[in-house]
Symmetry: C2
Subunit: 458 residues, 2 copies
């Protein structure tokens, strides 16, 4: 039963399990106490910090253990912003940061500039640098994107931030298991359960010299940076497993990269009307995302789960919020029928092949149930302009309706789709891009919703 959602949470690494077991016996006491059980706990904590700091590439006293990656991000943003209060409280982030970064940045309250990304999901270092202002307290950039795997130009952005005197926080949650983050960053956040460590442990590195003012009530744990009793057995397991996955990272990355390349190449051959997104080269080794036209994400995930494949999706139809992934939106790519495959360490070639065998049938069945067009053959010409009322219909119906009638207008003619579904704003232009049709524009419609107009070009 292949589990392909390592980017959400990776199964526990065997080394993490062993270390956790051992630390349950040795590391349950309070490391702040002076008696032998406390001293033993303190030694375990110190050793774990050294191990993790070496993997991060920082000094042990620059590294604190937090209860989660989200906690590390929240704390890094609020602490660094407060430390720079004199400069201002404006923040710069990429438009494709993890929601924990975006929400924490918003909570600072001084305005947030989101730097746009290209269609592959990467920011430009120059554009990022241009967004830095004299009142910018903090800049935030992920090492690699969690939804599409694209690597960001962290080293160049870090250099630009240094020159502007603005600290840079790197969210390394997705990449730290594969290697240290290059460049002269100021703060770094990560999460152990993404690399096969246990839940309950995040990392927060704050370089010496970075002004940092923790925003929680006073507490002496973790040099005053993280309040509360240390989750020591899990910390020990997190550090041990980070060292273990790093030792095998290069070989495993090469192996998984080849499997992902196979998915990237084969999916568009096997499934019609698919867009593979994210940078094909500058990317995480184990992650690939694609979107299937005329399919809703919820049904697709459900059917894949029935076939034994666990994947995730950034489609609006699968989240509780009914809005498509802000990452796909920022990239301007199709969000409907979206599938993220992230391979855990040890994934077998045969599992990937089984997925590639199953996917086309699942997509075809889902499309058939929705009455989606099977081919894009032109229909007889009749009218130069067609109006489709898709009000009240959810993703992917508006796009399916558009595809059904585009053949009904002659080349040069237009189709206008009325839709009140938020996903249509992203998916109709993306469909045009994929199909080589021209997206004319959108306007608020008198009938309600938004009218999207498409000109038939091919």
């Amino acid at each position: 039963m292949p589990y392909f959602d390592a980017a959400s949470s990776a199964p526990l690494h065997p080394v993490a399990r062993q270390a956790l077991q051992a630390a349950l016996d040795e590391g349950w006491a309070d490391p702040a106490r002076l008696y032998r059980e406390g001293r033993r706990a303190r030694m375990l904590l110190d050793a774990a910090r050294e191990t993790a700091a070496e993997a991060v590439g920082c000094r042990p006293d620059e590294l604190a253990f937090t209860p989660s990656g989200t906690y590390a991000v929240h704390s890094a943003v609020s602490g660094a912003a407060a430390g720079r209060r004199r400069a201002g409280n404006h923040l710069v982030v990429s438009a494709v940061e993890h929601s924990s970064v975006l929400h924490a940045a918003e909570a600072v309250g001084g305005g947030v500039t989101e730097v746009a990304v290209d269609r592959a999901g990467a920011v430009g270092a120059e554009a990022f640098a241009a967004a830095l202002r004299t009142d910018t307290a903090l800049a935030c950039l992920q090492s690699a994107n969690h939804e599409v795997g694209t690597e960001q130009p962290v080293a160049e952005v870090a250099q630009a931030c240094r020159e502007a005197g603005v600290p840079l926080l790197v969210d390394a949650a997705q990449s730290l298991g594969w290697g240290p983050v290059a460049g002269d960053w100021s703060l770094l956040a990560a999460s152990a359960h993404k690399w096969g460590g246990p839940a309950g442990v995040g990392l927060l590195a704050v370089r010496k010299g970075v002004r940092f003012a923790p925003q929680h009530p006073a507490d002496e744990r973790e040099s005053g940076r993280v309040p509360g009793f240390e989750n020591l057995p899990a910390i020990v397991a997190a550090a041990a497993s980070l060292r273990a996955v790093r030792a095998e990272a290069d070989a495993e990355a090469a192996r998984l990269r080849a499997l992902v390349d196979r998915i990237r190449a084969r999916v568009p051959q096997l499934v019609p009307d698919v867009e593979v997104v994210g940078d094909p080269v500058r990317r995480l080794p184990h992650l690939v995302t694609f979107s299937c036209l005329y399919v809703d994400g919820e049904t697709l995930l459900h059917e894949l789960d029935r076939e034994g494949f666990s994947v995730s999706s950034g489609s609006s139809c699968t989240s509780s919020t009914l809005t498509p992934s802000h990452v796909l939106r920022a990239m301007g790519v199709l969000s409907e029928g979206n599938v993220r495959v992230s391979l855990p360490r040890g994934t077998e070639e045969s599992d990937v092949d089984a997925f590639l065998t199953t996917l086309p049938d699942v997509v075809a069945a889902t499309r058939a149930r929705l009455g989606a067009p099977v081919a894009s053959a032109p229909r007889p010409e009749e009218s130069p302009s067609v109006l489709v009322d898709a009000l009240g219909k959810r993703c992917p119906i508006p796009v399916i309706e558009l595809a059904k009638v585009i053949g009904d207008v002659p080349v040069g003619g237009t189709v206008t789709v009325l839709s009140d579904d938020e996903a249509a704003r992203l998916d109709i232009p993306a469909w045009c891009e994929m199909r080589g049709q021209e997206f004319v524009g959108e306007r608020v419609a008198e009938e309600g919703g938004v009218a999207y107009t498409v000109r038939r070009v091919v």
Copy 2:
């Protein structure tokens, strides 16, 4: 090697270990995901919440899991205070709350009234009620004190808070393993590693109808109350072990209560100049605290550790802050040579007896090294007033100097001790209380420090 510091952290309960092992296999995936691994994680999380809620005595949807007891307290205080912003931002706490409560209350920024305690460490319900104001946002009262074990009148205070329309937060960290908290409280915080659960799990209960505004950036986990990926295996272990310790709580409490009664009775017989503190009856079953005159806590703990006994201390000499415990200070009892013994479940009678055999020798040896008075026999009368310069000398030296010369003045004469040690402010009056001498008062001394004057009465 007896470990007598369960109030800091209890060794892992066997049930917690078993549950943790099982949940490592079943509960590593994201419970927010729809595929089978996610659904399995969600079922474990839901079951753990039901189990823990039953033990707390609340509805499952009133209970959130936090990364620590400290986190639960911080979040409860900031969230409840923010939810009551319209009423005001004044807080009422007992003077002997855990530092996490005091620091969180201070951080609200609207002023904090500390309700005094009696010499046993308990607040009076009427005095607590009288401190509630129309602009009081929140009141905080522990179920039982973490340093001396005294139970607080939570049910009566909860009733008074209801009548005043002020929510009451109960810090149940020390007592939840022994039983639910009685009374009509509004919020409750607890910590799993105090009852034998794993580190990394706290509980935060917020009753329906209590206004609560979380102060962290937006996040959907734990009904929006606790951000970050759930520490699921530890949560499962925490809930399972809470149920397990509750099943054996009554029998174990009776057994440990008898052992603590033995310590309470025997220590003053075996060791001269000892004060056993805290309520002898309304108290936690497993915890007892006493203070030994003319001994410094650090040496005492070190010597006991060498003999194989792990205990903690609220003496100023053992903490990193060089100030005595705020709890002992609020109670007005002796802080020097302070020892807290908190028995973990399963403590053997023979361990307690071994401790009672070892303690007198350790105390005597420590006193001898400091040149402390062996007996309190009166010395020849000479002068009606004596000045002792103890400037620059740390606890317990100022009290030892006082004790050495009190016999040198006639009954009715006075001794004045000059000291710049913070602990003297607490310990000289406490010594007078224990010795039946009269504490005349203190004043800022021209020579520097504070002059404490004591009149010889006996």
